[in-house]
Assembly symmetry: C2
Homo-oligomer: 117 residues x 2
């Protein structure tokens, strides 16, 4: 489901906007095309989905990558930020995968949508 | 600047997640490839940027499209939602361009980032 099925407001969102570095430019990888980025992204998506308070995720990348994950509370976001494997992924992200990123922690106050009949 | 240069928190974000319809499936267009979607998207981006309280935008589309616009206040978001040209674009979106979308109005509580030195 590419649009996350989130519950009634309020809930929380983490907007992660990123610019990928040129693959291989900063990494110590053994020549893989993306320095492990794709594999780690898959593992992190699966791991996030198992966290308490996880509500869903939406993601797209063109010039910029945007991943929005949804959570039931700020505590759930904090716990996921401090997950040990996630901390490792964050470190590799700064070392190799990203030239820049911005993380925004939000409270979703209101939402509405449309689905074609 | 693909990552928006937003001010200190708090500020507001509108997360617009959408699924495009198959071009031509619902429109009355005269055969243009995307039923005017691309042209309208450009016009709306320019118009949003001229609104009071506009802070920036980030956008990417793959399977799903995600556009996050940033605003100084809920009043600024409300005024843009009710802009007459924007109302027309919203109507065309439901009539032709989107199979589904979700709009989430958020208060950005905290943010941080990384830029490669």
């Amino acid at each position: 489901m590419p649009i996350a099925a989130t519950p009634d407001t309020p809930y929380y969102a983490v907007i992660f906007t990123s610019l990928r570095s040129t693959p291989g430019a900063h990494g110590e990888g053994a020549g893989s095309v993306d320095d492990g980025y794709g594999a780690m992204a898959d593992i992190m998506a699966e791991s996030a989905a198992r966290q308490p308070g996880y509500l869903g995720v939406e993601s797209a990348r063109e010039e910029v990558g945007i991943t929005v994950s949804y959570w039931s509370s700020l505590d759930a976001i904090r716990a996921w930020k401090n997950d040990s494997e996630h901390l490792l992924a964050q470190r590799l992200g700064r070392q190799s995968w990203y030239d820049a990123y911005q993380v925004r922690i939000c409270r979703v106050e209101r939402d509405y949508g449309f689905t074609r009949a």
